[in-house]
Amino acid sequence: MEGSIIKIVGVPDFVTMTWLMMAVVLVFAYILGKNLRKFPDKVQYPFEALTSFIVYTLEDAMGSYGRKFFPLISGLAMFILIGNLMGLIPGFVQPTANLNTTLALALISFLVYNYEGIKKHGLVNYLKHFAGPIPLMAPLMFPIEVISHLSRILSLSFRLFGNMYGDEMVVLVLMILVPFLIPVAGEFIVFANSILQAFIFCILTVVYISSAIEDFEEH
């Protein structure tokens, strides 16, 4: 946990871990994609379940339009999930326990939902929605909306980073205090929380996209 066992000079630990994770996941995905069966076996079934869960979630939130975002959401889900679970392997660090990684993920989500909003409503209408219904209040409302949108980036990135970093610290401290059997409980927290955080990140991205493309009548 304290620093990774694989080191490349001049490259930070979390970047090395990200590359390693990408290599493993891509090779695994390639092999899995080559050997698809009509009746799924033990390896294929979890991924089919995950796929259909993401598709159902997207269709629930956005209708048939949501299928377009399947690559994005499933990519985010796999990246965050595997990245979080990497902390369970001794000698590996989590790429997501670093603010740079989570900030990059949050920026992707932010750019995508703003792009979709602008594409759906047009730039002028999208910005007009920021200004609010009353023209007189517009100079006041515009910065307020901008702040509340910026806080979305921060809350997405800080939640993931804080949870993962905090979990790691809990296990480390438990290891110092009681180096027998108790840290297993800490590892369980890492396991459960990594799944939960991946789920929350993806769901929030879906919520943001769907709130950006929905009609602005009721505000």
Partner: protein, 69 residues
């Protein structure tokens, strides 16, 4: 799958608390750096701090309206 939709909507209520705090922090940060740039120390910081507070309240109001519906 109507149940999932409710769940997705309720997930966004979890954000309210964090976003309330973060809006204030972002407002403060914007004001602080504007002050550094314009060299007008207390004015912009105070104004943008209040702006951030208002952003948090507006967010809260929007979510509450969604709950009350």
């Amino acid at each position: 799958m109507g149940k999932l939709k409710d769940y997705i909507e309720k997930t966004s209520y979890m954000m309210v608390g964090v976003q309330f705090a973060l809006s204030i922090v972002i407002g403060l940060a914007i004001g602080y750096y504007l002050d550094k740039w314009l060299k007008s120390f207390p004015l912009m910081t105070i104004f943008w701090l209040l702006m951030g507070f208002a952003a948090g309240l507006k967010n809260l109001y929007r979510e509450l309206k969604k709950v009350a519906k």
